[in-house]
Symmetry: D2
Subunit: 469 residues, 4 copies
């Protein structure tokens, strides 16, 4: 089974973070861990390490295996490291935004990386600039660095606490200095961050799949509003906020995370398979075969098949060898029927009534194409079943669905969506069904409900339109 | 679902071939088709085309997306093309062996590519050399070219027929000239070759998955011992041999082909899933979950789960972003538990009795590692079920298991293999079970039985030892 | 004739800058101009442009032709541009220091690049940090940006003036905003900066050779202490300092600049050839042939030969195709006599009394090697003649001879240097001879005299030792 | 001083060869030697070595430093090697023609490389094909392999002798087997080949500059019509032809070879400088400065300046950092005056009467451009002086001037050429002057005289037109 690539779907999260404290070959461990979280961001990546004397950093635009080679890993010396994989919507200005950032400062150099989104970044930034700060990127991450250094007289931990209290939104930060690591999570717990044990040291990761890959053992999650500090005296904890709740992002289960990760203690594959089962109970349909859209919907498809007793088949194949240098088919060839990302298997699809499981629908354009391909290949009926509720509101916490316009379900009811997509029937998982599948009742489900767990500041204005629902 | 990469397993086939006759953008179609058959060979690839005036060729050591860019595809002009992906055991001398080969000849230039293995190549080669031929590669393919050109007074089709009658073994050849394409298959039908229709022209492919990708429609297979000629007057057929039988290689179903291909009319995924079902009937065991070794064993695992009623889970994850430039973990890191190719999911595996489905066992080293990883992660029991019979004999028809030594089952009975691998129980699919799964009774199953459908000449001597069984 | 590469010698300057105001294809012009100044810095390069709406930037570690391709030039849109080539002593932390820097600021984004060295950077930096500034690079350039933005209430030109008055050292800066370009030079005129006319716009360059390459016409130099502003109303001038003198760096003539550049109105090749003539008058010697160390010493060698009447021959050849990917000979091969950078021509050298002209001696290690090579090839006598005076003091204005230790002439008199190098006789050009060759009497000759035209702050402490002379 | 690149001029030779016998690190030595001869061919290169057990080969399209890295050199094991750099007019079919070729043969594998051109290759090829040979390249080199192997009953040396007697034209071949090296030269001695000594072994090279680079010592040239064999018993010699003459190609002195090479015992730089002196005597003109077209004409320019007493200046600069990835200026930019390959120095050229020395004129297009550039930059007069006679006939021995049409002097007298080029006066070196410069009276000067030293077979027909002269 596989986790997803940048082209699978229409939504993307912005980043994964990783940290190593007191384990030899820290840069190499980070390399493998980032690689295991490559699905969280394929646009850029970086590593900053320290050997106690100085910081060493390397970052670049590209995948982990493209940016790091033996030379770069050797350069990044020491037993402490932080690393980052980045997804970005930006174009050519990308390189400036690739993390971790490094700052040279007479009170001690430090590095910083971050997953998530700050909703009041514009307000903070303007205020800092009026006081003489200048920014070299448009990244939220740089803001935290400026906040921490605004007043050099404060102790570092106090400066961090004050800085975090200024930030609103969903985030997970890791900070490295010459002798410490700090890991912190927003007070709503929107973005995940877990701690593992490895030999005499610790590792920190957006997803636990990275622990399995490097042989570390999961200990616990960083709590919402918590700052965990790693020093030569070990791990210690402090909280920067009082009102702390656990509103983990539901999309981590539905789409982002690797099936082998546990998010807030719940296995992602298991939650998806269960979502498929619940979906089969909520929206049964008579058909010949169950297909999943590879790769992220396969768990749900297996669950649906098991529950319904309708056989699960491999009727859609995803092309695995594509990559940066791959030549996309010309329009002329696409018109002829050349399909590269996904191709249906004629001998399986032909003459069949199909239940097609997908994890979510954003714009609906991919779904429309898949339904058409299946019909072109001779499918008699195509019944879409979506393993999550309709997305009706944009996300402001790190998922790149920023506007109502890009959400087909923000303007259309289910029947209208079905008509646009062109399938024979369409059903979504219910809100309750989603909670049941994960077993968690207080997830952030703002994209499905419109109820945001934080203030939104100006963000909502830029979301350009109000939903109809 | 995915097809396999070069690192999945311990066996490899040697190549895939593709041809286009009379379709515009022939080189581009070949590019996408070869890409869809990349799993059949990742060491090298090439394309030769013609625009009726001259031949254009490009080939290189690397994957399709690495060797071909827009420039190379533009250079390869015309509506006819042949293409090749190659797996090779050879080292640095590789480039000389990358196909298709092109030959400059005053009676007409031609190109040639080939899948399979000639068992009497050494004998033919020596004879040709004594008559003044010299060879620039060690490839069997070059032999056919020399045979065809040995006597320039013969008509081309007669020369080809005579040449093919000299060759013993398993093979599929495609030849391109400035105005014709020839597709041919050995008289035992050991290697697959299918014909599809696309607009006013034809396409030829080792696997039908390439047809689905480019939007072509399957017509029929090339028959054993048949030469199909494509000219401006269309497709015509002739046979070069009398004693023709259909001994398609069983490993095409078990391991080589993509799940979405139909080989000799049988869908590969369906045959694998059925093999899983039969295996569940033949070798049931009480356990908590069924896992498949990704990617080629997942179909069988789903079949086993469906038949047994034991849930199918994703407890082994294959790392998808690896590639040529990826840095392998050092021994030190591997000792620490860093695992890159396959990683078990601790939260799924821990405390479970596991049925582990794999498609085959060759050396047994990978199986041993997987069993150990699962136990390290807390599996209570590991029961291996193999969706094919024990491999007891080497293959001389294009699969790179050339010696008895590299086959664990050639020297050990099932119980001994179980002991080496370290699992709690082990069972293989029976010979009858395999036939039942594919519905084909006369496949070549020499690697499981030792009964070879052709003479073997000196090949068997090089297989270094006799089997115990 | 050629200009020099990074490996020619033992000294390096830190950068070249270029600007375009109001000429179409500004990024392309900058590309060719930077390429023409590649000898001034081969470690990194970058371009920032504007189309009046926003800034576009691209930069990277590598040569101009490696970092910029059509895609990057297309991305950098607009008719205004600044560009930079960088030489750096730093290792892996390089990328952060590659210029131009871009700053995102609510009062207007801007870009900045710089050639030279600020001697009080440490002092300024610490002061800025105490007030909340944080730095992402160790470059002096970032300091100017912080100084300019320290007080957002000031007009930009006032802010720049105040900032420049804070800086001590040798520098040439170019600043780009959405609608303006600013070009400025330190008040001692240590680093060169010239203005050219091209169609309706202007170009600015560290060296005039860039003007010849792009077809622009030289107008005048930026004056010491001058800020030239380019706006839609044309070019205007202001001065930020009162005590302005023209202390152009003598090494620009001796070593750094391309022979086809005019620095402060004096052609570099002409000054070198004249230096060779004066040297022949000052230090004649009876010999058979004159050789120059390629490439920067060839002009002087021709001058020496013309004046002395001793024939100029090509007895030392520089290997031109070397580059990043070139494999350096192993020690074993070097011991066997494999020479890659420079090789003597045996048939020219053998049995000859040689006058060897070099532009300067820094550490002396290269000179020693060349003398030995010539003797190994059969030279009877080797008389070194250096077309500049002995270097006895480090440079703090942008040349990377930072310590006394790396200057052989700081500790040794001429006879001792001759002994170390192993030549038969050695003579340097006199101070007066150098002035005569360039025709300029007030150049900065601090490296030859120890008389620095500015305060040195702490720099001199880091220069680790006092000279003996 | 520098040797030339592929873009310098309008004529090109086809290749350089190198061999190593019995010296450790043979592949590395060959790497450095080929690199030193990169000017003889930049399209492709390759190395074949042996460790006595088998042959190892690697070759590719590109420069030496691009095709070979440590990995490839390590792969090419052993103390014997041959290597090749190739210039080719062909397009995409290049890879098949890159040398050395390797042949697998039951009587012993061998490798082969070649510099020059066979004039009766078409005739031999057709004859071989009628007897069953097939060719994978269009290279003359493959022909020799087929000829040698035509009759496997002959001893190798006898087979080589017979093969060479069949070939007409100019050539230098090196053959490698598992225990021998053979070096051979055509009986007219048209192409150069020299032998050097290195430790206990030998090296063989098209140019002696490679010996200086690797520290080998020149012994003697291979004689016209000689086959030199290197075995464990040392070096031995035999001749395959009776009528042997030394007609070394005059263009080796004028244009092809590096100035530091000795061809047939005469130093190339010295011969060029002398040609410049003779030219100054034959065609004096009153002017202010002498300029040479870099790089190959600089020696002649220095000679002309010395003889005439007119100062030699650097008024034309060649851009050294260009390469494969360099973006050529668009027409729009070229119209604006952007010049990349050569740029004149305005401050030197302006207001001057110029003597411009070039080594030769082929089509005349480059000369025309240079004259125009100099006038655009303000030159008062431009007097061209060419350091070789007018080229009136094509070359069939390895220089790519294959037709009369591409030779401006084949159709136009000197005055007409002057008019086309647009200079104020034009003069060529006389035939006698050329002989005087090199001191060799029996060079092949066919391109200047039309008197070819061999039969021409059909070649002359393809040269498309007769000369007027």
């Amino acid at each position: 089974m596989e986790y997803k690539t940048i082209d699978d779907n229409e939504i993307h999260e912005e980043c994964g973070v990783f940290g190593v404290f007191n384990v030899k070959n820290a840069s190499e461990l980070t390399y493998y861990a980032l690689h295991a979280m490559q699905h969280r961001g394929q646009e850029g990546c970086g590593i900053v390490t320290t050997d106690g004397t100085r910081l060493y950093g390397h970052r670049g635009v590209g995948m982990v295996k493209e940016i790091f080679h033996e030379q770069e890993l050797r350069y990044c010396k020491g037993d402490f490291a932080i690393g980052h994989v980045r997804y970005s919507t930006a174009g050519g200005s990308g390189p400036n935004n690739v993390q971790p950032f490094m700052f040279n400062h007479s009170t001690g150099d430090f590095g910083l990386c971050h997953n998530g989104n700050i909703v009041n970044s514009k307000q903070i930034r303007e205020k800092l600039e009026m006081n003489g700060s200048i920014f070299q990127s448009t990244s939220d991450t740089e803001i935290l660095a400026h906040l921490i250094k605004k007043d050099v007289t404060k102790s570092r931990i106090e400066a961090i606490k004050e800085a975090l209290n200024t930030l609103k939104g969903g985030f997970a930060f890791i900070v490295i200095t010459k002798d410490k690591l700090y890991a912190m999570r927003d007070k709503n717990g929107l973005r995940p961050l877990s701690i593992g044990k490895m030999q005499d040291g610790y590792v920190i990761s957006s997803e636990t799949c990275a622990f399995d890959v490097i042989g570390a053992e999961f200990i616990r999650d960083v709590e919402p509003g918590e700052i965990v500090t790693f020093t030569k005296d070990g791990m210690s904890s402090t909280f920067y906020a009082k009102d702390r709740v656990n509103n983990i992002c539901a999309m981590e289960y539905i789409y982002f995370s690797r099936p082998d990760s546990d998010i807030c203690g719940v296995n992602v594959h298991a939650s998806r398979k269960e979502a498929g089962r619940v979906l089969a109970q909520e929206a049964p349909v008579d058909a010949d075969i169950v297909l999943g859209v590879p790769d992220s919907s396969l768990s749900a498809a297996v669950g649906y098949a098991e529950e319904s007793g309708i056989p699960y088949e491999m009727g859609l194949i995803k092309n695995k060898y594509m990559g940066r240098t791959f030549i996309e088919p010309s329009q002329e060839l696409r018109d002829k029927g050349v399909r590269m990302k996904l191709s249906p298997v004629r001998s399986i699809v032909k003459g069949k009534r199909i239940i097609l499981i997908d994890d979510s629908i954003v714009r609906g354009t991919t779904s429309k194409k898949i339904v058409k391909m299946l019909r072109d290949m001779g499918a008699l009926e195509v019944h879409m079943r979506i393993a999550s509720p309709p997305m009706i509101s944009p996300c402001f916490y790190g998922v790149d669905t920023n506007t109502y316009e890009e959400l087909i379900s923000a303007y259309n009811d289910v029947e209208k969506v079905r008509e646009i997509i062109g399938c024979d029937s369409l059903a979504f998982l219910s809100h309750e069904g989603l909670k049941k599948a994960t077993g968690i009742s207080d997830m952030c489900m703002a994209c499905f409900t419109g109820h945001y767990p934080t203030e939104l500041f100006d963000s909502i204005k830029d979301a350009n339109k109000e939903s109809k629902f």
